[in-house]
């Protein structure tokens, strides 16, 4: 036995109800299993009138924290129904702990005061928070743009080794997952489309469909979403952890702007890496569609002929141009959420979640805007 000094058994409870008096005696160690076993019964006995209560601890050789809690609870229960409680023969060193307890403080609510403000105050606060959020987003966009311009003027300021490392992690390492998802998406679309289109005898046009869908929409969107999930979240977690560790504060006090130091290189990574990944994704998606059509017995030459006639350079450009914006926005959102991280372990998790959610949201909204612009321009 490590705690306490005696190696006796867990305590048992004996109750005697005499003439107008209740006597509770504990025999053995008052440790947590003993207390757990007799807590409910002991309290019920004390609460049941009539008469004063005596708690006899002559045979208690150890009284742990749980035992102490039980004795205090019994005392409170007796007091509740107006009866006196006498504690007998508790060993002096436990008695001292029992006497030291401040009863009044055990009953108070004990939480800090957070006064309820009513709905008008809450609405005002929410509105002001939202306004501040927009303000900080605008500032961030401005700061990043200024940073990029400043860097363009003095390219040597870019810490190339670090930039390369980030680009490698979010670009090169993303190739397998981008390939897998794009190839499978191409295959699935081809499969699903070829069944109904065969009924009309136009299943050769499945290639056109897959190619246009991948090149104009799915390639850029899926790459952007993968980038948000893999790298936007990583940026937020990395910068968020730096914020929690006061590394961001250290940058600021050294006179370095955290946005220029942390966000600008990452946004540049997004700008550089996402378009390449997007082109790769387009190619993989088309390859997936072609693979399915080959399996369905179409000759390769016919498929290529279809591709040549349907996909124009400007279709590829339409997707390619979007991907620059997607990359910059997703990387920027990740960095912004990282820099907005609050205190504590859960704050980093919140920042990461927000980075991915906001990143994907922005990608979809921007894609819709591009759709309108391209339609108007007849692009």
């Amino acid at each position: 036995m490590i705690s306490g000094d005696a190696s006796s058994q867990s305590a048992t409870l004996r109750v005697e109800r005499g003439a107008g008096e209740i006597v509770l005696s504990f025999v053995g160690r008052l440790d947590d299993p003993a207390v757990a076993a007799c807590w409910t019964r002991a309290l019920a006995e004390v609460r049941r009138p009539p008469g004063p209560v005596t708690v006899d601890c002559s045979d208690v050789d150890y009284c742990g924290g749980a035992g102490l809690a039980l004795l205090i609870a019994l005392e409170a229960a007796a007091k509740e129904r107006g009866a006196a409680l006498t504690l007998k023969n508790l060993a002096p060193r436990f008695r001292a702990l029992y006497d030291a307890v401040d009863r009044a403080k055990l009953e108070k609510p004990l939480a800090p005061e957070h006064p309820d403000q009513g709905w008008i105050a809450r609405l005002g606060r929410a509105t002001s928070d939202q306004g501040l959020e927009w303000k900080s987003q605008t500032e961030f966009v401005g700061e990043v743009s200024a940073g990029v311009v400043a860097l363009a003027a003095r390219p040597r300021k870019l810490r190339l080794r670090e930039w390369w490392l980030i680009a490698d992690k979010s670009g090169t390492n993303a190739l397998p997952i981008v390939a897998l998802i794009s190839f499978l998406t191409g295959m699935i679309i081809a499969f699903q489309a070829s069944i109904p289109m065969k009924q009309f005898g136009v299943d050769i046009f499945v290639v056109n469909l897959v190619a246009l869908a991948m090149v104009r929409e799915l390639g850029p969107i899926m790459t952007a979403i993968i980038f948000a999930g893999r790298s936007g979240s990583a940026f937020a977690a990395e910068i968020g952890t730096m914020k929690v560790n006061e590394e961001v504060a250290a940058l600021t006090t050294m006179g370095l702007n955290p946005v220029r130091f942390l966000a600008v290189p990452r946004v540049l990574v997004g700008l550089a890496v996402t378009p390449v990944l997007t082109l790769y994704s387009m190619a993989m998606g088309v390859a997936g569609g072609v693979a399915v059509m080959l399996l369905r017995g179409f000759p390769l030459a016919a498929l290529f002929n279809q591709l040549e006639n349907s996909v124009r350079t400007q279709d590829v450009m339409a997707g390619f141009i979007k991907s620059f914006v997607f990359g910059a926005v997703v990387a920027g959102v990740g960095c912004l959420r990282g820099l907005q991280t609050g205190a504590g372990a859960s704050a980093v998790g919140d920042a990461t979640t927000k980075a991915v959610v906001t990143g994907i949201f922005c990608v979809v909204v921007i894609d819709a805007i591009f759709a309108v612009i391209y339609y108007r321009l007849n692009f």
Partner: protein, 255 residues
Amino acid sequence: MPPNDQIIIEVDGLTVGYGERVVLREVNFRVRRGEVFMILGGSGSGKSTLLKNMIGLYPAVAGRILIGGRDIVSATGTARQEILRAFGVMYQGGALFGSLSLEGNVSLPLEEWTRLPAGARTLLARLKLQQVGLGDFAGYLPSEISGGMQKRAAVARAMALDPGILFLDEPSAGLDPITSAELDDLIRSLSRNLGITFVVATHEMASVYAIGDRVIMLENGSIVAEGDPVQLRDHPPNDYVRAFFRREPQKARAA
């Protein structure tokens, strides 16, 4: 040597290393029941590693660590859980769970390890917080109280299951002298009133004199001195110990 039943922790030939680097070399010592035992040493001397080995966080290369007669190095499964239950640990930064109130932090081990009803757990958690002087703050979140309070709350959480031993890692790190002295008082009173054995890793000389019954001093992974703190100060067995106790810079230090 005191009789064997008074030895509560026994460290025997403990050797620890990371890869090629040996951090602790053949460390041997005993801790007696009820004493405040302090592990002293400069930064990088291996005291944190020693403490983390004693609480079973790091694996040892060789040696035994008997806690209440049972070896924590080789124990696995339920045997290991049993040993872990016998002691509490206060980590350097407090390591309170930020999402739980102080009361929630203290009652978490009670929920997992005892069958006490909810009312009993709450009452017990408040009693423990009262014992460390935080009776008014049970409902506060760790982020709403000061660093010294967080450490005291961490002591309350470590005591939740009435352990016989408490391990404290640098209790005075980052605290002002007054708060640090209050924490020392708390350790003294818990040791006297509840008979808890303390194992404290520190380099704060003031608390060594204030609360230490016995100290060992580590340098480069070996014990260079062992004994009563005041005696070590007055009769240092070697230069390193003298320099450490007198706060002298040591020019000829090898590392």
